[in-house]
């Protein structure tokens, strides 16, 4: 018996890193955008926040799908 599912492990590591760091970065970009005072910045910030919300919805889907 294999003690560790290496395939699942590397997937978890990569997805966690991309997802966790990605959400933190996107939220930061959203804050930069909405606080920039420029229309383009606000739109870009809004888009970044929309992606974060999509990530949260994906998280809820994962919970329900297990």
């Amino acid at each position: 018996m294999s003690y560790i599912d290496v395939d699942a492990l590397w997937r978890v590591m990569v997805a966690s890193l991309v997802g966790g760091v990605g959400i933190a970065a996107l939220f930061s970009v959203g804050l930069i955008g909405v606080s920039s005072g420029r229309t383009v910045g606000r739109v870009a910030g809004g888009l970044a926040f929309a992606v974060v919300v999509a990530g949260i919805i994906l998280g809820v889907y994962v919970m329900l799908d297990k």
Binding site: R11, V21, V62, M63
Partner: protein, 382 residues
């Protein structure tokens, strides 16, 4: 009332008690950082977490009527073994709560069942490979994964928002923190309440009250959801304080990065079938949040204390599980189980009374960290 019915009732009550302790022990996982940064007032935070745990318990009802699956031989699982295992997990949850140490309720329960099984059926009934692959390896990997994600996330958050006005940044990340902490609470409800549902369903099947394919009765779902939500609302303030104030001083950007890291690691591990302990992931995330901010201090002594507790979770809970099983068997029948249950209640009451001497509550949970879990100025709870 027959002896079997008494045994069943005691097992159900013990399972719900374990669920309750699971709730108050794990409130910190989701809410410690939000409380520490002031994103949420302490009572609001535990209330929100309780509601989300309650809702989460109803969201996913694919309940597995198993306990320590893949770790002990299912043929060795009797009602008394389940009971003794729960007592082991319960005792470890209470002791670690008293000392303010976040530790995995799942691993404590597994430890309790392993100890009871060892005494009931011998070493052959315990699957060593399962123990290594399901508990020991994930226990090492969970905090490492979370530390890496939270460290990088925190570093990026500070670098990217360095030019954003401080007030906007603080307010923004506090809002973000509430969202990410809520996701962790919801995930906790979907995962942990189901464990209790599974145990009670297993007990009902073993007793013959329901058939193998009957599914989980609705009252079991409601009771399990209520127990974990009530426990969450009571708030394990001692653990919240250690996680929110003890490991590192947390600012809103760090709190957000930590919770985002926790939510992502927990959900991806669930998705890819490599379940990791919520507690160990959240603790790793808080450490990562400390490491990711330049010049932030991580109190490694506190972290080491947690590491030691995680190392001894399995053997300590196993020891209590074995003793509980041995005592119940020695006395025999339903009376044996009742006596052990009464001893467990007395132990919990004594620990609760001892904790009142150095009470940590919603009013002093954020007091300055003075090198130990309890604040110097103990304020009387309202």
């Amino acid at each position: 009332m027959t002896g079997d019915l008494v045994l069943l009732i005691v097992v159900v009550i013990t399972a719900l008690s374990f669920d309750f302790t699971n709730g108050f022990h794990d409130t910190a996982n989701a809410m410690a950082t939000s409380i520490a940064t002031g994103a949420l007032k302490p009572k609001i935070a535990v209330g929100l977490s309780a509601v989300l745990n309650f809702v989460g318990a109803f969201l996913s009802l694919k309940v597995a009527a198993t306990i320590a699956n893949g770790i002990v031989d299912s043929g060795a699982i009797t009602l008394t073994v389940v009971f003794a295992g729960l007592v082991g997990g319960l005792a470890w949850n209470l002791v670690t709560w008293y000392f303010g140490i976040p530790s995995s309720s799942s691993h404590a329960l597994i430890g309790g069942v392993v100890g009871a099984t060892l005494l009931a059926s011998g070493i052959k009934a315990v699957k060593g490979e399962g123990l290594v692959s399901h508990v020991i390896i994930p226990a090492v990997l969970a905090p490492i994964a979370a530390v890496v994600v939270a460290t990088v996330g925190t570093y990026l958050v500070y670098v990217l928002t360095r030019k954003v006005e401080e007030r906007t940044r603080t307010k923004g990340f506090k809002i973000g923190q509430i969202g990410s902490a809520s996701l962790v609470s919801l995930a906790h409800g979907t995962n942990d309440a189901q464990k209790t549902m599974g145990i009670i369903t297993l007990a009902l099947i073993a007793d013959g009250t329901i058939t193998q394919n009957a599914g989980t009765p609705f009252w079991v779902v409601v009771c399990s959801a209520t127990a974990i939500a009530a426990g969450t609302y009571v708030g394990g303030w001692r653990v919240i304080r250690t996680l929110g104030k003890g490991l590192t001083e947390i600012e809103p950007p760090q709190g957000f990065a930590a919770e985002a890291s926790s939510a992502t690691v927990i959900l991806t591990s669930t998705h890819f079938g490599f379940p990791l302990s919520t507690t160990q992931v959240c603790t790793g995330s808080v450490i990562g949040a400390g490491l990711g901010k330049r010049l932030a201090q991580v109190r490694w002594g506190v972290a080491a204390r947690m590491g030691v507790a995680w190392l001894i979770t399995l053997p300590a809970a196993a020891l209590v599980g074995a003793v509980a099983f041995g005592a119940a068997q020695l006395i025999g029948g339903a009376l044996g189980v009742i006596v052990v249950f009464a001893a467990a209640v007395i132990f919990a009451a004594l620990l609760f009374l001892a904790s009142r001497k150095t009470a940590v509550n919603a009013r002093n949970v954020n007091d300055e960290w003075v090198g130990r879990g309890t604040p110097t100025q103990v304020r009387t709870p309202v």
